[in-house]
Amino acid sequence: MFLQQLINGFTLGAVYALIALGYTMVYGILELINFAHGEIYMLGAYITIISLSILTITGLTSKSLILSLLIVLIITTIISGAYGLTMERAAYRPLRHAPRLSPLISAIGVSIFLQNYVMLTQGSADKIFPHILPPGGLSMADVTLTYMQMFIIITSVFLMTALHTFIRKTRLGKAMRATAQDKKMASLVGIDIDTVIMVTFITGSALAAVAGFMVAMYYGLVNFYMGYVAGIKAFTAAVLGGIGNIQGAVFGGFLLGILESLGAAYISSEYKDAFAFIILILILIFKPTGLLGERVPEKV
């Protein structure tokens, strides 16, 4: 029973963690809470469903499910990355030297715009993911781990490791770290800040899109306002681990998912959403830098 709750929570947490990474990366570099980030996740889920139905019409889905899902995943990542890039160019870059509050409000504006844009173009009713995935999973005694849950956990852990390697080992990753430490200094040593910021937005958006892709398959239900709550929860996860801190976002995501599942099971399922926000308030009061710490000292 408890083990099953852990599995439930771990899957939920994997999704939160993937979205939280985007928040934390953007914050690390721009010190901007990108409130429109949850909307990118929602767009990812929509693009998944749309591109899958296009593939179904061409007949590829019935021939090779895995190949078509792979194509859907690639399309989703690319289009969502493009959305992230456009968002940065249109809504944040013109405000880069404005007071800190301006880009924040711009972010809220982008979020409202994207929600309504999807509602108007796709309709306000739920979109349903076709039941094409083979059901089933591993069962031991009373505990079930479905293939979908396995897929979500493995994919997220893989992506997180890949991101870690990218930031630690590549030249671009080094440039990102340098920009996060000190933007001015980084530009003085020849780092193209604009490119770094663009890469950050594209990477963050692509991760959120993968989360949207997996959630569309996991729940089978997508709507235009799903990005809002997911975004706020991922933001909580990022704050929980220490915003701006990549390991912190991963840790915070998993912790939040597990706490939420255990809270819903053992305290009250009616207050499931409230747990995330109670945690957010407690963290902000008692440890505003998060459990693993904000990366402030490095900036000094």
């Binding site: 729940y219 239900l221 399922s269 009616e270 499931k272």
Partner: protein, 386 residues
């Protein structure tokens, strides 16, 4: 140069003045003529959002009836006009929509859909003395407020809960029941009526609410599974209902599932997929088997396609309203309400009569089952076995 400029400015000023006067006059004339010519009927329900399908089904049903009356020449020698408003199944929105409809001069309302919208809105209509007929709100509280202008053409959740409880205890003979609800007036109300009715016949081993709009119910389902119930009952609407049964099956919780009229929609089967198979739902009888519904089904299909579960209710509600306006002989709210109370209506649903509260006299509920991806009528109260 200077003279011409001033001349043009003067000319422009007069043109603007003249045009605005003209527009104002035109507005007054059309405004007046509109007020004289038509009788306005309001339709309110969730027209956008996750439950929009229900709202649009409802609108279509009412529109069909109103169009039929208009073809015959309208009511009281006036044409009918339908005004559709969207309450987004939100209580606050429902009240503002109700005020809007009252201000628009409607003389009768078909709606709302959800109980948590109908109840607050009913107070507004009561103040304005406008009759409202809900096609779908089943929460008992709606007609227990003592309003003489509130009616329904559907049943009540205490009747529905009782039928479900009888079915579970006498036909399925289960002893351990788990109950979930979505915390709304309708969902929790129905779940509570079910619990009340089954209380001495079976044990409710688990009872909890979930958040409407949530997508992950695995935590509560896992906790519920540990209590080893024989049946899961859910009070709520199809988006959550579909996900709950789907996730229950994924967790290996293979017990029968039962719910109420909020899940009677093809969308439930679409969301849950194969997991919906074998679900029991309490709802009124299949219109396909009602002889009176033949004409309705035919003209609905030719106008809007396949009817939703509540299209026929909205159609009958609109017919009841229009007949009562005709019987009252005026657009006065109190007279129309009185006419409904005294009326015996033979509509697409069969014979309808109302008690003092505005409820229909006979409980309409039967049990349906999802079979081969379709809803089929399964059991009627009175049958002991199946």
């Amino acid at each position: 140069m200077r003279v011409t400029k001033r001349y043009f400015r003067m000319k422009l000023r007069y043109t603007v003045l003249f045009l605005s006067l003209f527009i104002l006059l035109a507005a007054i004339i059309t405004g007046c003529s509109k007020k004289e010519d038509v009788i306005k009927i309001g339709v309110a329900g969730p027209m956008t959002g996750d439950q929009s399908k229900m709202g649009i089904d409802m609108k279509n049903g009412a529109e069909l009836a109103i169009n039929e009356w208009n073809r015959k020449g309208g009511v009281l020698e006036k044409k009918l006009k339908i005004i559709v408003e969207d309450d987004q199944h939100d209580p606050k929105q429902a009240v503002s929509v109700a005020n809007k409809l009252v201000n628009a001069g409607t003389i009768g309302i078909i709606g709302h859909f959800n109980s948590n919208a109908s109840i607050p809105a009913s107070a507004t209509y009561n103040k304005a003395n406008i009759p409202m007929i809900t096609p779908a709100s089943t929460n008992p509280q709606l007609t227990e407020q003592g309003f003489t202008n509130v009616f329904r053409v559907c049943g009540r959740d205490d009747q529905q809960g009782l039928v479900a409880a009888t079915f579970v205890s006498e036909v399925l003979k289960f002893k351990r029941i788990a109950v979930l609800h979505d915390k709304t007036t309708y969902g929790q109300g129905l779940a509570d009526e079910f619990v009340k009715a089954i209380n001495h016949k079976a044990d409710v081993v688990y009872y909890a609410g979930v958040v409407q709009g949530d997508k992950d119910f695995r935590a509560v389902l896992t906790a519920l599974k540990g209590k080893r119930p024989e049946l899961l009952y859910f009070g709520g609407i199809y988006p959550e209902g579909g996900l709950i049964i789907k996730q229950a099956r994924e967790l290996g919780l293979n017990i029968p599932f039962m719910s109420g009229d909020g899940l009677i929609d093809q969308k439930f089967i679409e969301i849950a997929g194969p997991a919906s198979e074998g679900s029991y739902l309490s709802f009124s009888p299949d219109p396909e088997n009602i002889p009176n519904a033949k004409d309705f089904l035919k003209s609905y299909r030719s106008n809007y396609g396949e009817p939703g579960p509540y299209s026929i209710y909205a159609y009958d509600a609109a017919n009841v309203l229009l007949r009562s306006i005709e019987a009252a002989g005026s657009a006065d709210g109190a007279a129309i309400s009185k006419a409904i109370h005294e009326m015996k209506h033979t509509g697409a649903l069969g014979e309808l009569e109302w008690d003092k509260k505005g409820d229909i006299l006979h409980s309409p509920y039967v049990v349906w089952e999802v079979k081969n991806g379709k809803f089929t009528e399964y059991w009627k109260p009175g049958e002991t076995n199946h």
